[in-house]
């Protein structure tokens, strides 16, 4: 019987397989950041151990870093200590680090791909659940806990329990107004936040094949929000072209050998998935969340659902709690929801294409009165590229704030946070209670919806702006 893409990559990394034991997998790339690594390095010290493969390890600073005044000392002493701890650990153990102020600094899942370090057929881990992002290249990439970070540092391997395979096939073509973010939000709403538990999802089908690498990263990034162990997309010409010429991508004879191997990384025709989901791209529309988990979403054109409409008692109760926390009423049109803040950024939607898409919507328009819009590039490289294209000026001319790269308001570990009761439209990945700041309320949206929402002050799609523009008297 044939094998799926995930099974092929897994099999190619088995260091040891023994009856009754989890497979021991080799790890090709280990990404580190300041939040989930200090206790791991501490463990190495206590055990008298070293980092086995510093040449397969790389660190950056992202979660705690400020997005303003980065040339000044970090105001929060605890954040400062955590960053200083990473710097000391990397220096002591010989790990390459891109700290705040460095041109390669940024959100860890933006940095890996842009350096060309993420490649098809690799195993990639990081002490961060959004490591699933790297699956866009046909890599098997998953988030791990700090004990596993220590394990990989010490051994470059991980014992891993077997997984199940799920195919999410998106047939047909995405309508023009529908983005990768809308698609993944719709997928999560369909399979649920626990529906992917134990599975590696492979996204496939015509609509997926047509996506750019950056859109594929948006899709795979949020696999974890469906509870999946990882998400993957088979590498193809789009993948190979993206990698060409990047710092760490193979070249010359190595590239030929690599591409030959990469071309084998496709699910065999006779392979069988443990579970299959089919989605018709043509039926999709801009999608937003109304609740407090990423599965609680609906098309923007709909209304806040009635908790009573959920058959499952636990889902019904969760919806009641969510509406209470979000300050929403069943039946309220989603388009009527007014926001205070718009956040464009994160490992989900902080890449150059995301900034271009948001800029295209907001260009020549203004952020609505009383709305704060933060644009936070995913990395310094993204930021430099955006500045070279003049995108920063598009945003600032519209009244948005252009910030330094980092995780920022996606999780509010740095000063970029929502105030209690404040509501945001955010291109990030989690609408959990308090995620963006104590008492803050989050609606997950695409960069295009974020920009349109900033202009109108309530949840809106770019198409809504055209209607508004047309309705406005000209020359008055």
């Amino acid at each position: 019987m044939g094998r799926t893409l995930a099974e092929k990559v897994w099999d190619d990394h088995v260091v040891r397989r023994a009856e009754g034991e989890p497979d021991l997998l080799y790890i090709d790339l280990h990404l580190l950041h300041e939040v989930t690594s200090p206790q791991a390095f501490d463990g190495l010290r206590k055990g008298g151990r070293t980092v086995r493969r510093t040449d397969l390890t790389i660190a950056t600073e992202d979660h705690n870093t400020p997005t303003l005044d980065i040339d000044k000392p970090i105001a929060d002493p605890v954040s400062r200590t955590q960053l200083e701890t990473l710097r000391k650990n990397c220096a002591d153990f010989g790990v390459r680090l891109h700290p705040l102020g460095d041109d390669e600094q940024g959100v860890v899942h933006v940095v890996g791909p842009q350096l060309g370090l993420t490649q098809p057929g690799m195993t990639v881990v990081c002490g961060d659940s959004h490591t699933s992002t790297h699956g866009a290249f046909g890599a098997l990439a998953f988030g791990i806990g700090t004990s596993q970070v220590e394990h990989v540092l010490a051994t470059q391997t991980l014992p891993m329990a077997p997984f199940r395979t799920m195919a999410v096939t998106v047939t047909g073509e995405l309508p023009d107004a529908v983005t990768a973010k809308d698609l993944i939000l719709a997928i999560i709403a369909r399979i649920g936040t626990g529906g992917g538990q134990g599975y590696v999802i492979e996204y496939r089908g015509e609509a997926i094949e047509k996506l750019s690498m950056e859109s594929r990263m948006t899709i795979c990034n949020m696999s974890i929000e469906a509870g999946a162990r990882a998400g993957m997309i088979a590498p193809d010409e789009t993948t190979f072209a993206y990698l060409q010429g990047r710092d760490h991508a193979p070249d010359g004879a190595d590239r030929e050998a690599a591409v030959d191997y990469w071309r084998t990384l496709r699910t065999d025709d006779d392979a069988v998935f443990d579970h299959e989901v089919v989605i018709d791209a043509a039926e999709l529309a801009p999608f937003v969340t109304w609740g407090t988990n990423p599965g609680q979403g609906a098309p923007l054109s709909e209304v806040v659902p009635d908790p009573g409409s959920f058959d499952d008692p636990s889902e019904r109760f969760a919806a009641e709690k969510a509406l209470e926390y979000m300050g929403l009423t069943a039946g309220q049109p989603l388009r009527d929801i007014a926001v205070d803040t718009v956040f464009v950024g994160s490992c989900t939607n902080g890449r150059i294409e995301d900034l271009r898409a948001a800029a295209a919507v907001i260009e020549g328009r203004s952020v609505a009165d009383g709305v704060r819009m933060l644009v936070v590039p995913g990395s310094v490289r993204v930021s430099l590229q955006a500045v070279a294209e003049g995108l920063d000026r598009v945003f600032t001319a519209a009244g948005a704030e252009w910030r330094h790269a980092g995780c920022s308001m996606c999780l509010g570990m740095n000063p970029d946070q929502l105030a209690p009761g404040e509501r945001s439209a955010s291109t990030s990945n989690r609408n959990f209670e308090g995620r963006q700041g104590k008492g803050g309320r989050t609606h997950l949206v695409s960069p295009q919806v974020a920009a349109a929402t900033a202009v109108t002050g309530h949840l809106a799609s770019p198409a809504d702006l055209e209607t508004t523009d047309a309705a406005q008297p000209v020359g008055v």
Binding site: D28, D42, R49, I58, G127, S147, H151, A257
Partner: protein, 198 residues
Amino acid sequence: MEAFTTHTGRAVPLRRSNVDTDQIIPAHWLKKVTRDGFEDGLFEAWRRDPEFVLNKPERAGASVLVAGPDFGTGSSREHAVWALQNYGFAAVISPRFADIFRGNSLKNGLLTVVLPQSAVDTLWQAVEADPTTEITVDLVAREVRCGPSFRESFDLDDNARWRLLEGLDDISLTLRQEDDIAAYEAARPSFKPRTLTA
């Protein structure tokens, strides 16, 4: 890691599904660089409500958390496990756990027990009716017991169970496979990327 064999204690019924790790321990607590001192951050936002179950005096000292499905979703932060342990929990029971949280728990000796929703409902009713009710989580027999009539077995693969029962250090176990690791490394293709230039 400390070994886990069997544990008996009073319980906290947490009637919530999708308890994400941001609820278990909010992000601002993650700036700490130690594995301890997270107990005050456990469910920090919910604990501001005096009616929250953890704040009830009769739940003080409870050590078994009984929660709804999809416990531990979201962020991979192992701090969520440390916070539960620092607070005094030895075991969590739920119909379904998020994968990363479950892996982190087993690495730290926090036992996560999957029971069907119907069994969780029974336990909720029992411990709500009488807060002094004790639950026994028995890893040796792979079963949960409560009162005279509740007895429900649970699955946990033999290898994970053995590691927990023995309190084994995974890194030491893996380092015994040095020959296999070295052999794998010797055969890795040259086109695989390196972060450092030689």
